[in-house]
Symmetry: C2
């Protein structure tokens, strides 16, 4: 089995934003689809993990887009593992068109958690290591995001809704992206676009948690975002506009 | 070309709700995908309509589900036109598994609007009429929804966000479904499920419109929903739980 997986998508016109472009949440769905498919094909996907009573959990995600694909575009997502640690794997992505033009890159960090304790479990480094590829992914790794809450004390209160939850009963990782982007005024998307977004999923968001969303500008066009529950950050993110 | 179109989907586990079931917004996306594909294959899709400077607009939608497909289920959506009027076509859907077991049915009403005036234009009844199928769709047609606002005067104020908008810059028809379902408490989805939802799209929701969402119980387990802007309903819906 090849180290790099390749998955095809079409930018459905009824799923694009008002610019007729694929949205970051949609790209998030492409990446999760590709990651799941790539792992499944190589024997370490959802089914194999379930048998070991474990599950992959997305811990960090960084997406950098040079260009957002327009409606009807045929998109190819390449994905590969670029590193395996004791508790984490690092997975890269490239989004391109059918002719090979790159739209953007993404990096992600995944942990395998135990189904009962919800704590990270040690990975089978030998098995996973066989799939590590040297294919280049020329974007910065997801880093540390500064706390937005100290510079935006009020924040916006939010109650978790039915549509926020995933199959584990926790807030869906792509829904975080959607809710975080919606902190920006629509007009911001008319005059600019997001060059890079990174998200740190710190702990599982559950229904009934009273959440507060914070947003603070850290430099011109750069923002730190945070989702807090009872004073603790459950998610942090950073967005750079161009 | 056959009158009935058939489209295949897989219930992606990362897109299901906390029950591990396909959601109504996801089903809405399947139906729009199938409707677009069916029309495109028969020469009256997005491209052909664009050339005539017109576009299909969803006017009414009713979905009845006996059972919501579980994660990983292979789903087949059949779609066909069951009637063509001067300004409207009526399109039906059946959702089934690969063995032919029916999950549910849906009915929809579409208008072709002029790109400039945004008013309905007369349809080519002869051309479209050739595709009308008699295949049964044993659910009630979308009907009149009673105003919820007279029984829920306060309502919930809502500001349109980036993620609500579609390629036309208006509120996405599936996003209405999501926002309307989110008026119900999460616990409601633990103890019951929605047997039927119908939506009447009355006028285009635009960014900057101050919206108020209303919900009123009309009978045990039955709700009328409404989205108002400046005192006018831009969307009405009805939900029946079981």
């Amino acid at each position: 089995m090849e180290k790099v997986g390749s998955f095809r998508f079409v930018a459905e016109p009824y799923l694009t934003d008002f610019r007729g472009r694929v949205t970051l949440p949609m790209i998030g769905n492409y990446l999760i689809h590709a990651a799941s498919g790539h792992a499944e094909e190589r024997g370490f996907g959802f089914s194999a993990m379930s048998e070991r009573h474990t599950a992959w959990v997305l811990s960090r995600l960084a997406i950098e887009m040079n260009e957002y694909p327009a409606a009807f575009t045929k998109i190819r997502v390449y994905t590969w593992i670029d590193g395996v640690e004791r508790f984490f794997t690092s997975r890269c992505f490239e989004l391109a068109d059918e002719e090979g033009k790159t739209f953007g890159f993404a990096r992600s960090i995944w942990a395998a958690i135990d189904g009962t304790t919800r704590r990270p479990t040690a990975l089978d480094r030998e098995a996973l290591g066989g799939y590590v590829s040297e294919r280049p992914c020329p974007i910065e790794r997801p880093g540390k995001v500064r706390p937005a809450e100290s510079r935006d004390e009020a924040g916006v209160a939010y109650t978790v809704k039915y549509s926020d939850l995933d199959i584990n009963g926790h807030i869906n990782s792509v829904k975080y992206i959607e809710r975080l982007l919606d902190l920006f005024d629509i007009d911001r998307f008319r005059t600019g676009e997001i060059a890079r977004m990174e998200v740190a999923y710190l702990s599982e968001g559950k229904p009934g948690m009273p959440l507060i969303f914070h947003k603070a500008e850290s430099a011109p066009g750069k923002y730190d975002l945070a989702v807090l529950s009872g004073g603790n950050a459950i998610c942090r993110a950073a967005v750079a506009w161009r």
